[in-house]
């Protein structure tokens, strides 16, 4: 296995890099954070016009047919520039789930809007009792004459305040041998009676909500994926989402290392640039090595997902575990080497740090992915490539 990027992939990276460098300054990002919406709607429209939102959808859905590699290429740049816009939530998660499993009627009505940037989505899959386990689902969906009635409460629904539509996980059957059995996914419009929200901001500058469902009636067209087996649809989407956030993390770590190298060269103490001190030089080298190891794992994982390799899921677990460790190492040391200025709201370093803190535990922390890696590696012996 070795990745050679296609000309299109190189162009995508270059154009995303160039656009964001010229049009996505840290100052304008911070201004957007302070607005009620929490991101810049004009930017989102531009992302759509540049074709970024359509990039990873199939051609029959009016997308460009890209895969995990394209997700990775875009999200790496998003991470580098601390992009706030809800690409992960609307495109990777909800767009991915709708394309993979929504009924034709829903797909027809909503998918093109998601791809065109006209609609926003949010995936409500977590519950208060156990955020570490997406298969912990107490929300129920009971069969009715013409569909389902949902009751329960979902927590930390990212992008919830902006979403027109939600995908909600709910229990339709008993837990089977596998904890993910008996769970189904439902597409619900935000105006459906019985939905209520509590909205709030998150530390990384985004928005989320608590979602209450009280006798929410939906038609059987709302079912996404198979009844009782929603995770068959959700699992590959989660894997893609993990590639997305891990790519974002690599971009963010690159930005942090560059800022730290730059700062330590400029900052003078004891009559010299602090970049001359070997203890700091070696610390930055260790940051560099963590980033490069993570990048290798990221590239290989995206490639393996696109090529349906037998060990692709093992690599996803390895990648997410590695990002948990590297993200902390790099961000902690970036803050440390910047000294006091690194702890302020005014300076970008702290904001990368907060985003990496969030990514490190999102979709399962380092520890949960290490134990998943252990389980998967005993099931699978990896042949030398």
């Amino acid at each position: 296995m070795f990745i050679e990027y296609s000309e299109e992939q190189n162009m995508l990276r270059d154009s995303a890099e160039r656009y964001l460098r010229d049009n996505y300054s840290f100052e304008s990002r911070q201004a957007a954070v302070k607005q009620a919406r929490g991101f810049d709607a004009d930017q989102w429209q531009t992302f759509a016009e540049l074709g970024w939102l359509a990039m990873t959808f199939k051609e029959e859905s009016d997308g460009f047919g890209g895969g995990a590699l394209e997700t990775m290429i875009l999200c790496e740049q998003f991470g580098k520039y601390l992009v706030l816009e809800p690409y992960l939530e609307s495109v990777v998660l909800v767009g991915g789930l709708v394309e993979a499993g929504a009924q034709p009627e829903i797909k027809q009505r909503y998918l093109s809007g998601l791809i065109a940037g006209e609609r926003q989505g949010a995936f409500a899959y977590l519950e208060e009792g156990a955020v570490a386990d997406p298969t912990y689902v107490q929300t129920t969906a009971e069969s009715s004459a013409d569909g389902f009635v949902l009751n329960g409460k979902k927590t930390v629904v990212l992008n919830g305040p902006e979403a027109d539509c939600f995908i909600v996980s709910a229990r339709t059957g008993a837990v089977g041998q596998d904890s993910s059995q008996g769970i189904s996914l439902f597409f619900i419009h935000k105006d459906t009676p019985g939905l209520s929200f509590t909205q709030y901001k998150t530390y990384d500058g985004r928005s989320a909500s608590e979602l209450q469902l009280e006798n929410v009636a939906v038609s059987d067209q709302a079912l996404v994926g198979e009844l009782h087996n929603g995770f068959a649809t959700a699992t590959p989407v989660f894997s893609r989402a993990m590639v997305a956030v891990c790519a974002e993390a690599v971009g963010a770590m690159d930005a942090l290392l560059a800022a730290t190298v730059d700062y330590t060269k400029q900052r003078k103490q004891f009559g010299q640039s602090i970049s001359g001190f070997q203890v700091l030089r070696h610390r930055m080298v260790d940051m560099f090595m963590e980033i490069e190891l993570t990048r290798s794992l990221l590239m290989a994982t995206a490639w393996k997902l696109d090529n349906h390799a037998a060990d692709a899921e093992l690599c996803v677990a390895a990648l997410k575990a590695k990002v948990g460790k590297a993200g902390r190492y790099v961000s902690h040391n970036a803050v440390q080497l910047h000294g006091g200025i690194g702890t302020t709201d005014e300076f970008s370093v702290g904001h990368y740090f907060k985003r990496l803190a969030v990514i490190g535990v999102m979709f399962g922390s380092r520890d949960s992915h290490l134990s998943r890696y252990s389980q998967l590696s005993t099931q699978l012996s990896v042949e030398p490539s």
Partner: protein
């Protein structure tokens, strides 16, 4: 030929040619060196087959294999427990002579290196010049058609088995320290040269100190021009750093730990592999090893595309050796008291007595202690970090 066909050809050859004693020497390796006699026997078998120097250009005795085939060969040899050939001649001096040597030097030395008639050791470090190699003081003074060498070299691996040594010597004290260094080939039988073994922590001798007391060497043995030895040596260090594939070593270490953890009991009655604390530690190292494997593939891909590894080879050296050391620690935790037992005779191929403790733990302690040297030799982990700081981060 497809890579798969090539791989099965290599496997067939290994099955046929690796005698039980040679294979046993490979299994019992506790450092980068295997038992001397078994290694040289394997060297001669590969020489007869024409496969002793796959990395050399074909006209000098190489195999003409693709990079991918060379990688497969290396991988299959290690997986089959073939002893690693001594690198000082074939991997280090050979490619350097091909690049800098005179026609006479190439014609004389390369065939003897291939056949195993000459066994080379490397005279770089000195008691006062380790990481700061350019501060070396062993002096070669011109006298007619000869140089007369005085001084001492240290950490000379397998000097006790070698008949030749290549050395960095000081030929001038003018200018920068690097500017007065020359590269010279010395016959170990020369009068005035003596070898003192250094006993390592495992109780065996791999390293030596070599003393030069008025050692007279023909000036024709100079490689490159006088005072140009530093450039020659720098290219050699690249061969030393780039020539290693850590992924195969890590896979073998991982397989050993899997075997140990699946057969040995931890406290409370369960197997080590079912101990959740231990399993998490293994996964932690395994994830880094996997990330390094893909990094090696990235570098290999860059080579194939005509680029070079740049300072990624320093990254690979640092991470490859540090990950290897973490695997050693995990083995030691499993084997525990059984790893204490010093039974050097059981580590020699052909041993027929009864070893104490499980056979999967025979090499554990020696591997653990010997591998501490991995982050010291070939440019220490700290020197490698300095290289990355300067060349990649431009600090």
């Amino acid at each position: 030929m497809t890579d798969n066909v090539f791989r099965s050809d290599v496997r067939a050859f290994l099955t046929e040619s690796l005698t039980p004693d040679i294979k046993r020497a490979g299994e019992l390796m506790t450092s980068v060196f295997a038992d001397f006699d078994a290694t040289m026997e394997w060297h001669r078998i590969l020489y007869a087959k024409g496969w002793v120097a796959p990395d050399w250009p074909e006209e000098h005795g190489g195999t003409g294999w693709t990079l991918s085939q060379r990688y497969i060969f290396q991988e299959e040899c290690k997986l089959a427990n073939a002893p690693a050939l001594f690198a000082m001649g074939l991997q280090m001096l050979g490619p350097m002579l091909i690049r800098y040597g005179t026609a006479e030097q190439k014609n004389y030395y390369l065939p003897r290196m291939l056949s195993g008639e000459d066994v080379w050791c490397q005279g770089y470090s000195e008691p006062g010049a380790g990481s700061d190699l350019a501060s070396l003081i062993t002096a070669a003074v011109r006298d007619g058609d000869d140089y007369i060498i005085n001084g001492s070299k240290i950490w000379t691996s397998y000097a006790q088995h070698s008949n030749k040594i290549f050395c960095l010597v000081r030929t001038s004290k003018e200018g920068k320290p690097q500017a007065g260094i020359s590269f010279i080939l010395v016959d170990m039988d020369t009068k005035g040269l003596s070898v003192e073994p250094i006993v390592g922590l495992d109780g065996t001798v791999e390293q030596c100190q070599v003393y030069f007391d008025d050692v007279r060497v023909p000036a024709a043995n100079l490689v490159g021009a006088e005072n140009q030895g530093w450039d020659v040596a720098k290219s050699l260090l690249e061969f030393e750093r780039g020539g290693h594939n850590f992924t195969i070593d890590h896979k073998k270490q991982m397989a050993k730990i899997d075997h140990q953890a699946s057969t040995q009991l931890s406290a409370g009655g369960g197997l080590w592999k079912d101990n959740p604390v231990f399993a998490a530690k293994v996964a932690d190292v395994a994830v880094d090893a996997l990330a390094l494997e893909f990094t090696e593939l990235r570098v290999k891909g860059a080579f194939e595309a005509g680029g070079n590894a740049g300072a990624l080879s320093s990254l690979i050296k640092v991470m490859g050796t540090e990950i290897g050391q973490r695997f050693n620690e995990l083995s030691l935790e499993i084997m525990a008291e059984h790893a204490f037992v010093k039974q050097l005779d059981a580590l020699v191929p052909g041993f027929e007595g009864d070893a104490i403790g499980p056979s999967c733990g025979l090499t554990t302690m020696a591997e653990y202690i010997n591998n501490r040297a991995a982050t010291i030799y070939g440019g220490s982990a700290e020197i490698q970090r300095d290289i990355i700081a300067k060349r990649v981060l431009h600090l």
